[in-house]
Symmetry: C2
Subunit: 240 residues, 2 copies
């Protein structure tokens, strides 16, 4: 297949770097199409284990300088994985819901933190950054391969499917302070766009929660707010 | 004074952008040396209020394309503030302590979050990223000007000065889960380097605290761990 720079409508995406590629090979080998290795890379030291795992799974390994020039022109990585983009349906249970997230790095950090607190399902409401963008995948540091991520056109489409979840919308104007929110499972923790937050109307169909802080800042940044909420909602599980 | 790209040993640093410069003018006008404005910028719309404030404080405004080429070659900003780097001594009370932080963006995010949870004092143990680096200052989104930041050569130097603070060291191997930690004031919340964390020996002179999470990730990222710890330690203040 012809190689070109990653695009939203491409059927494949890429793991840039050895650690990330290893994580994918362990967790989702069925998605991996091939690996690219930089010519004259020492195949024994460091990446020997990765190449052995790939060989065991019958995955092709191509030496190609060109692949690195196209896919990681500024990077200093020497191993890239190509994988099939396959959107998974969410499972019933507790969900993270991101409404119009716009930054690949932020989304990656949220995916990583969500995996850390035991979440396996993230709903994303469009318009939104591309979960499969190599920059997002890289920012998850491998947690992308532990997560189901499903896109919806509107929040109503999400609610149509998971309407019985208790909904908590995180808003600067929320009436319920985070520690006081009753945690009723299964739940959806809902976060808005980096710059604009959630529209006011979310308070009509969600418990509107705020994370209290001083007036020295306008708001916490999005991954921070999401991480603190996930910590508070799951701490009884992780600290029994 | 001759303009050159920012260096660690420069006596001045820069706020790149209008919002950041405005925050500095409001909070720390005594540090501001001059402002640079891109030639042919409309002085009425948007930045009129900032220029009026600068004029009121007697701060010089220079039109200079060159300043932007030197200080923000890739940026699209049209206002830069030059300020005197003045390290402040910490005040007694609750502190954040960063041991060998290496990333400007992470340090900026931690400063912003700390300001949000009411902290005014951050100790930084060398080797460490430069708080005054324009990239750090920008990542704080203005919170830099609400914070005292003092550098120490070793953790022992810090303890010599603030030995009566209760010390909590955040470590993956910590024996005390965060929610169970007794919060005794005044305290120091201590965080290690992004890649290596804190040395084991910190458990000898601190309460070693861990933030429990699943095995799907190696660790939370540094700003996330710091933000969750600050939330937990201050939530009784912010949610009375």
């Amino acid at each position: 297949m012809k190689l070109q720079r990653y695009r939203h409508d491409s059927p494949v995406s890429y793991t840039l770097g050895a650690t990330l590629t290893y994580e994918m090979l362990k967790e989702k080998p069925e998605l991996v199409k091939r690996l690219f290795i930089r010519p004259s890379t020492d195949r024994e030291s460091g990446i020997g284990e990765i190449l052995a795992l790939a060989a065991e799974k019958g995955i092709r390994i191509e030496e190609s300088e060109k692949a690195f020039n196209i896919l990681s022109p500024k990077g200093n990585c020497y191993l890239i994985g190509e994988f099939e983009k396959r959107e998974e349906r969410l499972k019933p249970g507790n969900h993270i819901v991101l409404v119009n997230p716009s930054d690949a790095g932020n989304m990656g950090t949220i995916v990583r933190t969500a995996a850390g607190f035991g979440f396996g399902d993230i709903a994303v409401i469009r318009q939104a950054v591309d979960f499969f963008d190599p920059r997002t995948i890289r920012a998850t540091m491998g947690a992308a391969f532990h997560m189901r991520v499903e896109y919806f056109d509107t929040i109503e489409d999400y609610i149509k499917k998971f309407g019985s979840n208790e909904r908590y919308a995180f808003m600067l104007t929320g009436s319920t302070p985070l520690p006081a929110a009753e945690k009723r499972e299964p739940y959806s923790l809902i976060f808005g766009n980096e710059a604009t937050g959630l529209p006011d109307r979310f308070a009509d169909f969600c418990t509107a929660v705020r994370i209290n802080h001083s007036g020295a800042i306008d708001s916490l940044n999005l991954p921070m707010a999401a991480g603190i909420a996930m910590y508070e909602f799951t701490k009884n599980i992780w600290n029994q």
